[in-house]
Subunit: 460 residues, 2 copies
Amino acid sequence: MLDASILKAMESVVGGGNILGARDIPARYFHDAAGWKSEPDAVVRPRNAEEAAGIVALAYENSIPVTPRGAGTGLYGGCVAASGGIVLCTERMNARPRFHKEDLYAEVEPGVVNGDFRKMAEAEGLFYPPDPASLGTCTIGGNIAECADGLRSHKYGTTRRYVLGLEVVTPEGRLLRMGARTVKSVAGYDITRLWVGSEGTLGFITSAVLRLLPLPQARTALAASFSDAGTALEAGAALVTDGLIPSMLEVMDAACRRAASAHIGKDIGEGALLFVEFEDMQSVCRESAERASRLLGDEYGAVVRGDISGAERARLLQGRRSVLPALWTLKPVVILEDLTVPRSKLKNMSAEIEKIAARNGIEIALFGHAGGGNIHPAFLGGAGDGDEMIRMRQAVAETAQACAEMDGSVSGMHGIGLDKAPYLKLEIGQSGYEVIKSLKASLDPRAIMNPGKLFYEERE
Amino acid sequence: MLDASILKAMESVVGGGNILGARDIPARYFHDAAGWKSEPDAVVRPRNAEEAAGIVALAYENSIPVTPRGAGTGLYGGCVAASGGIVLCTERMNARPRFHKEDLYAEVEPGVVNGDFRKMAEAEGLFYPPDPASLGTCTIGGNIAECADGLRSHKYGTTRRYVLGLEVVTPEGRLLRMGARTVKSVAGYDITRLWVGSEGTLGFITSAVLRLLPLPQARTALAASFSDAGTALEAGAALVTDGLIPSMLEVMDAACRRAASAHIGKDIGEGALLFVEFEDMQSVCRESAERASRLLGDEYGAVVRGDISGAERARLLQGRRSVLPALWTLKPVVILEDLTVPRSKLKNMSAEIEKIAARNGIEIALFGHAGGGNIHPAFLGGAGDGDEMIRMRQAVAETAQACAEMDGSVSGMHGIGLDKAPYLKLEIGQSGYEVIKSLKASLDPRAIMNPGKLFYEERE
């Protein structure tokens, strides 16, 4: 419980309607999209950077935990108030972005929805590549805090590539500007990229300078169907080795495809799917798609539908973006992993995951981004079976271990949060962990920013 | 002077021939390419990561300054032993890189020459974009420490985009691995990018995992000549606004062009030059070059030589890469700036530089990378004229100020080192400076790594 005098002080910063005390908090502020849940003492909704700084300064003085929150679309608990205190929301910080078309960048507030930003950029003839599956609701602030990514990272890179500069509220409640408005700048340490993906543990993002690209002139998509997901992943990796540069290389297994078809009420076909798209000049798209079709058909026995039309493309992408919600309606418990391996190991990794699932008697579905070497195995369970939950957790741990052994990463795009914290050291080692802990201590000496996330100390 | 017992301990780590004490040090270890000079107490040449770690551990125990050094091609004093102590060289750490062709990355030691690495990658059908002008001698370790860049950053980004993972010796002398072998990874803070561009102040790089691209299938180059450099810069920026994505957009003014012609003994033409190159599939290169030629000729009155041949292209690039050495032979004193502004401000910035030069009575020459908004004004002076040196330094300070006012960066690619340290706060502000100082203090508590560089405290 927050002291009434502190609530009153915060109220004087953001105004009465923008601070919700314990009993007035709508339940949507308690949890993230995967169901991680915790109740804050208050929810605060600043309107601008100065208000946000005022709130964090009060929290700092009183050592109150601050959990930054965007749209709550994260999956690993990053935005829930695991240690109480306040949830600091970006939802009122969503002014129209300022586009600098000649210089290919925009200034964007954290509460702007990714999909809205994309559409506004497109209207200016500009392109913002990072496109999480939740782009219709997720916000730019959360995207940056998690270094989010979407379907296009093989060609375009992840969010970190597009953040030229940031303004943040530091844990002491001061405004800090970093980075540049130019692609090239090496003045001092690259603290901009340190903040990107720091999951709200180093401060609260109030504004970003985001790099934009010219809109691609054309797109060509094709859909290749396989008997199994392992071959689809292997075939996707082969396109990259062949020198092609697809913008999307999306895979889903037959179970995901069925679930997505049912969920959106439209038929998106049978078997394991590899969805390939090229974005470039028309001639490049055509040449690339022809080469890809031949390679997938001739070498990997795929049934290929080339140059698919606008409506079919839209249906497949809608299906792809709906896989996770579809699995959620299918099964009471869905544990989604987010691992990355070097592309040449995708097939082995998917075989390993199947073995792990079989060994533990767990049903799995699998989808992923073959370009980035990123696969999402979803472990599916029934409700209320304690033994099954233990086996699911065991499968998760074995998957993290297998991933580390294949030079992979335990988190390709969803972050660490609460969920992956126990596995972080598997990847970065004790010495890497000590380095990030010392950075955290030096930048957030009272440990008020998003406590409990990312860092994890095993109990003795 | 180092204590004899310390020298002996270091000798037992790297072997007798690989530690050069005071009087045995060849002069080439004293200075960088721009003439910044300082004498170390010893030069140490480890063969591998373990030896480097052993040396740094001894330096840490005894609080001896350590200055990492690659090929010494830097321009701002980064590799000179400004505070004495040891220079730690990467020159023996140059084993053949290990290429992972399927996964598009290579493991590379710091002493490998950039140009050698490029050639080996090309032989595998792979492409490493960052290409500093000094690529024939500069090394990968120095490139990473400075976040170096070359002629291609508009299309491909700078060195930071290609560093997937690093192994470094920490200031305490321990080996630390960070990053991944995958394009996507968000496990913990992005400390890999924090080390990239940290100019040897956070540790000694012993190995890097570098991302590679497929080799571009074709190249098309054109050379456009203008009456003045300002128009060449403006025209270059216009190509980007028009949606074209050139891989090179290089500008030099008439003075640089004349100097380069004389230096390489080959005619590279008259007037201000804009060199434009596209790298892509053949059809894209052709389409793009035609559009660029029309735009440069019709809108900006350029005299364009389109689709220039292999020999002519090689001559122009050789000229471009020789500009700085050419200016060095032309004038006794050359102060080279390295500023970046948003592309739309390139023309204004070049006009401002001309005014600053005229106001201070200094001769200037100018070249740069229009794609990245990066211009290199070179202030040229005679020898031994104290008043002129004062006016040159005044021009440098005014240029940094003008750059900050145009939302620019005081260092686009060459780093801060000793030279730009007084101007760093102009760009990152006092609060940004305090953040990087606290990071430095937490990671290098005894301040032994490259002391005197990047950080600068004004005397009271």
